[in-house]
């Protein structure tokens, strides 16, 4: 299968998924992000790397946080940012996804940052751009269905490297709704690619996808067992609509078994870090005492997220 994400020189053409990207590429993105963290501390927080470029934030699914961080990242690189919230109702009025793309491409877009409710939508866009001779336009996947959220995983990797330095000595646990989580899938691919020897997933059977162990993870259903000796704890957000129904009986019961409390966290290594992609459901997947506690690196994740997105965008623009 052709790797859509790399151009003929092996440079990053699009960022659609972590799966299939070489370790050197992931490391390069993390290395490139480092200097951008300093930009944020300057008086003038702008670099001219994307001056004159138009970045379109195409959000077919609502997200304030991710859209904002992409917007900040693009603006700090001096790009012109156009935000489009295309809710499903206007899409259902007739214009197809590819019609939308053709129209925006005709407005001389240089980059599309795409969030879509359907898995694979950014692939469809990237393939369409290639088929119509518009492959100078870059696509960044800002989350597609349950498939991938590569920039989130990269900022998580940046955070882990910041606190833990060496990936090859770590035990990492990803906890919660793996079944529906694009974040979890991208995290798992990033961790295994970067050489983390043990990646665990902890969840009830209703929230695990089929054959998940084939992604290279160890499966646990018990938090105490799964957290034992862990260096990094990665929590996932549990969507409201999954909480009461056939997947889970109630948020309270989920919290009882899978909510991260100080007591459960005590199973992990004393210097373990706790991460969460946000927004958090306090009292559902995470106890406030942990979210606000000394192990938590949840706010630094957000700060690093801007630097990582700047790194990705500048690498794409340079390709």
């Amino acid at each position: 299968m052709r790797n859509l994400q790399l151009n003929s020189h092996g440079e990053l053409q699009h960022l659609l998924t972590i799966e299939g990207l070489p370790r050197t590429m992931l490391t390069a993105i993390l290395d490139n992000a480092a200097p951008f963290t300093e930009v944020a501390e300057r008086e003038v927080k702008k670099l001219p790397l994307l001056r004159g470029k138009s970045v379109f934030n195409l959000f077919f699914e609502n997200s304030t946080r991710t859209r904002t961080t992409f917007e900040i990242a693009a603006k700090r690189l001096s790009a012109d940012v156009i935000n489009l919230n295309i809710n499903t109702s206007s899409a259902s009025k007739g214009e197809t996804l590819l019609d939308t793309i053709d129209n925006l491409a005709a407005m001389q877009a240089d980059m599309f940052v795409v969030r879509h409710q359907s898995s694979g939508a950014p692939f469809l866009i990237a393939e369409h751009l290639a088929a119509t001779g518009l492959d100078h336009i870059h696509v960044v996947n800002a989350g597609d269905g349950s498939h991938a959220h590569p920039t989130q995983a990269l900022l998580d990797m940046y955070t882990i490297r910041h606190y833990k330095r060496d990936f090859t000595q770590l035990t990492v646990a990803v906890i919660g709704d793996i079944l529906h989580s694009r974040v979890a899938r991208s995290q798992i691919h990033a961790l295994t690619t970067l050489g983390v020897p043990e990646v665990r997933v902890i969840a009830p059977k209703t929230l695990l996808p089929a054959s998940v162990e084939r992604l290279g993870v160890r499966v646990f259903h018990d938090m105490h067992e799964g957290l034992r000796g862990v260096d990094v704890v990665m929590m996932l957000r549990l969507q409201n609509e999954r909480m009461n129904g056939a997947l889970l009986p109630s948020p309270q019961e989920f919290f009882k078994s899978y909510g991260l409390t100080p007591e459960k966290l005590a199973q992990a290594k004393p210097d373990a870090i706790v991460m969460h992609p946000g927004p958090m459901n306090r009292g559902v997947e995470i106890d406030s005492a942990v979210a606000d506690g000394t192990h938590s690196v949840i706010l630094p994740q957000v700060t690093f997220g801007i630097a990582v997105r700047m790194a990705v965008m500048s690498m794409l623009a340079g390709a």
Binding site: H116, S119, A121, G145, S146, S211, R214, L215
Partner: protein, 427 residues
């Protein structure tokens, strides 16, 4: 019109014939085989040197999209595809708009299809009104209008009591019931086989149990009602085993497989290729292996095209939003030949699965070259390969996962009731 088909290798699975000989057609029927019938003087000669002469193919599932979906395909476009694919008889599922639940609709379709160059069309009547799974259709009336079987296309009957009644009622008149085994709850929102590929791609899975649970229900009701049941588009190894076991226990159930499922599995979804979005879904490699073997050993009775032309607008969407289905009338023969070659099966055996075996399921006098039978004949060159492309497909649907692939077996001539419906000389 009397036609003399010369120098071909005649393969007629119904009569166990595989030998180089001549075939003589007169008055729309096979007038003679090997020996010139008395007083036969050909008006036309078909040179079949280097070619196989076999019965026209019988396809158990081809959507013609009429009535209701004429923007996707028309009778004209799909009949051209059938003729180009050597298909001379086809059953069309009732999921038109409106569904084939009234005699008038069936009559209209049969009337529209009554052109000499068109394949014989056998509409499968809807088992329930509007396929809604609530009220039975007027099956006796529909049968009079030309329906030889009743089914639900891909729509499940959720209420098992309605399913039981429908099967009982059909059994009263000995009407065959064609059903696709897929539990609607386990398949809910599902778009791909529930396995590693769906997990990696973040696609909602359809577990194999969606097929086996529905199969268990249908087979149990078949035993109870004693009706004739045909299971359409089997997709899993477990499903095949259940059907084999049911047959051993005396339930005379038959089944078919879609030709795509003989060659593809869930890995072929690749980077979310909407062409690989099919219903039932492409399953695991081990399932594909079992389907290929099951068709070879006869556990699966027939292979069909499951032809489903879909317009580009409905296909070029994110995987889960794309309409399922693939165009395949013209690929049924080449893909069957490819399967046969890979399984090292003699053509005599392989071609049975697209000629006499499906004809028996449909209960029609077709799929044979017996003297006196209707002259539905396919002449193809088994050594000639061609590349599948949007340009070469006659079907209005260009949606196939085999685009760009080289396939064996190019049809040279198609005769329907002795009428030359397709010839490469025309192209």
């Amino acid at each position: 019109m009397k036609i003399h088909i010369q120098n071909g290798r005649v393969i007629d699975p119904a009569n166990g014939i595989d030998r180089k000989m001549d075939l003589f057609v007169a008055e729309g029927c096979i007038a003679g085989i090997d020996k010139v019938p008395k007083g036969f003087e050909a008006d036309g000669i078909v040179d079949a040197s280097g070619c196989v002469v076999c019965p026209g193919l019988v396809d158990l599932s081809a959507r013609l999209r009429e009535p209701g979906y004429e923007y996707r395909a028309t009778l004209e476009s799909e009949m051209a595809a059938a003729a180009a694919g050597g298909v001379t008889s086809l059953a069309c599922p009732p999921d038109t708009d409106p569904p084939l639940d009234e005699p008038g609709l069936v009559e209209m379709l049969k009337h529209r299809a009554r052109l000499p160059e068109f394949a014989h069309v056998y509409p499968v009547g809807a088992l329930t009104v509007r396929l809604a799974g609530e009220r039975l259709t007027e099956m006796a009336e529909l049968a009079e209008a030309g329906c030889r079987a009743f089914g639900q296309a891909n729509v499940a009957i959720v209420d098992t009591q309605v399913l039981l009644r429908a099967m009982q009622y059909a059994a009263t008149f000995d009407f065959p019931v064609w059903l696709q085994a897929q539990d609607p709850f386990l398949a809910r929102n599902g778009v791909a086989h529930d396995g590693e590929v769906a997990t990696r791609l973040g696609l909602t899975g359809i577990p194999v149990s969606a097929e086996t649970i529905a199969l268990a229900t249908i087979l149990q009701l078949a035993r109870e009602t004693g009706g004739r049941v045909h299971l359409t588009r089997i997709s899993s190894a477990a499903g095949i085993e259940m059907i084999a076991a049911a047959r051993r226990s005396g339930i005379p159930a038959t089944c078919d497989v879609a030709v795509h499922h003989l060659h593809l599995c869930d890995h072929d979804i690749g980077n979310f290729s909407p062409h690989a979005r099919l219903d039932p879904p492409l399953r695991a490699q081990s399932d594909r292996t079992a389907l290929r073997r099951g068709l070879a050993d006869g556990t699966i009775n027939a292979v069909c095209s499951d032809h489903t032309p879909v317009d580009d607008d409905a296909k070029q969407r994110p995987f889960a939003e794309a309409e399922p289905g693939a165009t395949a009338l013209e690929l049924l023969l080449p893909l069957t030949l490819k399967w046969a070659a890979e399984m090292k099966l003699p053509l005599l055996k392989a071609l049975a699965r697209v000629t006499c075996d499906p004809a028996a399921i449909l209960g029609i006098e077709a799929g044979t070259l017996s003297v006196g039978a209707p002259a539905d004949i396919c002449v193809f060159d088994p050594k000639d390969h061609f590349r599948v492309s949007r340009q070469t497909l006659h079907s209005q649907g260009k949606n196939t996962p085999f685009l760009g692939l080289e396939l064996p077996g190019r049809v040279r001539y198609t005769l329907i009731d002795g009428h030359l419906a397709y010839s490469t000389a025309f192209v």
